[in-house]
Amino acid sequence: MTIRREDVLRVAELAHLELEEAELETYRIHLDEILAYIGKLNALDTSDVEPMALGFDARGGKAAAGARSQLREDVVRPAEISEAVLENAPEARPPYFVVPKVIER
C-alpha cells in the first residue's frame, strides 16, 4: 500500500497536528517506509492467538501467575494542589482554565 498526501492530511487532522508543507512530504515518505516494514507481520498466522493488551504475560511462569491490574478503593481524598496545578496553565482564572471560545454562533 502507498501512503498518499491525502492520507497524511487526514491523520494530521485526527491527531490535531498542524504540519508545514515540507513536513507533509517527509512524513508521507516515512509512514510509507515504516508501514511497508510493518507489513511483515502479515506473514504470521495469528487467527488462534489472544491479543496481549497489557505488559503481563499470563503464561509467563510461576512467578508471573496472578499478575493483573488492581483498582484501589474508590474513596475521595482531597489533593489540595489546585493552585499549583493552575500555575502551570497558559491562561487561568482560578479556579478555571481559560480557553478560546468553543461554541460559534
Partner: protein, 478 residues
Amino acid sequence: MSVWRRWSVAEIRESLRKKEITAQELAAEFFRRIEQRNPELNAFLQLSPERALAQARRVDQMAARGEDLPALAGVPVAVKDVISTRGVRTTCGSKILEDYVPAYDATAVERLEAAGAVILGKTNCDEFAMGSSNENSAFGPVRNPVAPGRVPGGSSGGSAAAVAAGLAVAALGTDTGGSIRQPGAFCGVAAMMPSYGRVSRYGLIAFASSLDRIGPLAARVEDVAAVLGAIEGRDPRDATSQDRPPGDYRAAPDVKGMRIGVPEEYFGQGMDGEVRARVEEAIRQMEALGCRRVALRMPHTEYAIATYYLVATAEASSNLARFDGVRFGLRVAAPSLSAMYRKTRGRGFGPEVKRRIMLGTYALSAGYYDAYYLKAQKVRALIARDFSRAFEQVDLLVTPTTPTPAFRLGERTADPLAMYLADVYTVTGSLAGVPGISVPCGNTAAGWPVGLQIFGPPFEEARVLQLARAYQNRRGDA
C-alpha cells in the same frame, strides 16, 4: 574530599556512619562535578540544589543522632526528566513542557527520598522518551562521556552519561523499548528494566502505558539492586503495580548449575563482529562460573520491531493527546479552540514525536485498527510465548544488548527505521514484560563499551541480578 573517586552506595553508607564525610559535603562535591562537566556533556537539564541540600541535611542529622541509616542514605541520584518531581521543572526533553513544574512527586521519587537518596537534578533524554540516541531532545543531544563523538544512546542518555561520568552514583531511567538498557550499554554502566508491574509508574509522564517502566542505572550491579529495592512494590496509585514480595537482591551470587539460554536469533545479521566476540567471551566466563549454556530458538524475534512500533505509537498517540495547550505547557494563540490545539501541538512537538503520533493515529484510525493495532497485540503474545517457552528450559537468557556499539552523532538521524533497529535486541523483553539488565562486558578495540543483556522470567529480578553480579565480579573491573 579532594581525591576524585566513584563512590558506591555501600561506601557512602559506611563513610557516613563513621562520620568521615557528611551527606552535605558529598552533595556539594557532586554539584561541583556537574558544574565542571555538564556544559560539555549536557546530561542534566536542571538541578535541584535546594531540595538536595535539605535532604542531605536530614541524612546528616540522622547520622549525628547515631540512627540506623536508610538503604540509600546520602546517595547522590539523578532522575530522568520524564519523571515528575514536585517543584522541580520537568520537561520530558520537549518544548511543549519547557516551563512545566509538577505539583506532585512520582512514587519512585518519593521512595528514593524516603530511602535517604539525594536528588541532584533531572537528566536529559529524547523527547517524551522517544529515541535511541538522545538526539531527539529539544534541549540538545547528550555527549557520550566514554566514547567521544558518539551518541550516549537513548532515550535515558542523560542518566547513563551522568552515571558513566561520575556525576551521580545512580540514576533513574525509563525503558519502553530499550531506553534504559541501550544507553547503559553505550555508556558502559549497569542498567536495569524491572518486570512490568514491579515499579509504580505513578508520576511517570506516559509514552506507552503497557510498555513503560522505571528502572535504575549505576556503575555497579549492587547499586542497581539497591535502588531497585528502594523503589519497587505495590502502589495503589498505579493499578498495574503488583503486590510481590521484595526480591532478595543481596543473595550471594552463586550461579553454579544455572542454565543460561543463548537464543540464535540474537546473533544474526547486522551484528557487529566485536560485539559478538565480547558477548561470546562473557558467556564463556559464565560457563567457567558453573553455568550451563543451552542453545535455543525464539522464532518471533524478527517481528519485535514491527510489533513494537505499532503498539508503542498507538499508545503514544493516545497518551500525548493531553498536550493541547489548555492545562499545562506551551500554548500557541489562535481564535478557535481547535486551531489552538493544532498550532500548539504542531509547534510544541519535535519531529520524531510527531512522526510517532502520526503512525499511531494511523494505526488506530477507522479501518486499520484490526490490521495494525490488534495484529500487533497478537504478535506481541507470540513474542511473550517465545519467552515463556524458553524459560521452561532455562533459568535466564543471555544476549547482546545492542547489535553495534555507540554510533556517531548524526549518523542515523535522517533514517528513522535504521534508528529503530538499534533496539532490535531490547524491544522483545519490553513486549514480553520480563525483567532485563545490561551489564558492561568489555570494549571494542576503539574503546567503545559493549553491553551484555540478561533476561529473566517475570518477577525474577533477583535471579537476573545474581548472574549479573557474579559475572561482573568475575570480570573484576569497574
